[in-house]
Symmetry: C2
Subunit: 208 residues, 2 copies
């Protein structure tokens, strides 16, 4: 079904073009959203668009961990109660938010801004790996420094983890990675073989 | 899962608030879209937001049929090849686009801008019914004028159709409505009883 040819207004068509450029939004949904916005008071629409413009124009990234922040140093890095000697390395801003939501982590972060992926033309120099090694170098005089590699478990994630591991080998730091195994509540029957296999190899002492 | 408490930035939170105000967009999708926009070049984001602002600020509605239009009179009303004596009454702009997409209609339209719905506080005066009767009054000196009520088949649609029908009773116009029955390719087994019953009552001469 091509709505494309039949837009009653150039302005509407341009708005639909713009909205449908968002990931996961088709032209039909974009039309629905454009007509919804058209029915709202003008000030609401301006509030909507300026919130997006402000985000794009004024957002900062923490000078230390590259997390989205309103200040030069983010609220996590500047929190004195957190353990600055434990650095959790993640791919994206969203990963930080996910780990923060667990409430289980009291260290700090380092956002890579992506993952090494030759197929997408992303190499180590496109990520914040150099900044990470500088941070670790500065910390490595301290007694007990840990870097947690919290990257995804696919080939690109493993490659990136290994690359970082080698970069950090010269420093006096422990490098760890996330536990992998069956999810809580998972059924053995439906687990994939690789995950189940690793769960057996990396089995843990039973603590009831 | 409440992401709400843990936004790393006020700007991000405000953008997510704005995006999630769209119908059918939850806070999780809104966050995904906000982070997507953050990764785009600033000029793309400004193009996106100004397309929406322009639509809201500059869109016009056809003086005759109330369709969205770039000019005072829309392209359909100003098209001399179309039959100005046949007016198809629809609820929304989207209905016009849907009927236009069929390529089966050569008359003009009248967009009500809604439907009579006491429960939502929408009365006849909130719609463009008065404008419709004026249009019909002006046309009714002509020989063959038809008003097609193309409203939805629910109670509110039927109510609105009946209200308009009574308003137009004093004029010399034919009032028709959309054919209702089984959809093309529909299976009898799965049709609801009301639709199937009406399909039998309103059966048509078989034209192979």
């Amino acid at each position: 079904m091509s709505y494309k040819e039949n837009y009653p207004s150039k302005l509407l068509e341009e708005a639909v073009d713009a909205i449908s450029s968002l990931p996961g939004v088709g032209r039909r949904s974009a039309l629905r959203l454009a007509l919804h916005l058209l029915k709202q008071p003008a000030e609401n629409v301006h509030h909507f668009t300026s919130a997006i413009d402000n985000l794009r124009d004024e957002v900062k990234y923490c000078r230390q961990c590259r997390m989205i922040s309103d200040d030069d140093i983010c609220s996590i890095c500047s929190d004195k109660s957190r353990d600055a000697n434990t650095i959790c390395v993640v791919e994206t801003v969203r990963d930080v938010m996910s780990i923060e939501n667990t409430g289980q982590y009291r260290g700090v972060y380092h956002v890579l801004g992506g993952i090494i992926s030759p197929i997408n033309g992303v190499g180590p120099s496109d990520l914040t790996i150099r900044e990470l090694t500088c941070r670790v170098a500065a910390l490595s005089t301290e007694a007990d420094v840990e870097v947690i590699l919290a990257l995804s478990g696919d080939v690109e994630g493993e490659t990136t983890s290994f690359y970082i591991y080698r970069q950090l080998a010269q420093y006096n730091v422990r490098v760890s990675t996330l536990a992998r195994g069956l999810g809580f509540g998972d059924d053995l029957e439906y687990a994939d073989e690789l995950t189940l296999g690793r769960s057996i190899i990396n089995r843990q002492i039973f603590k009831p």
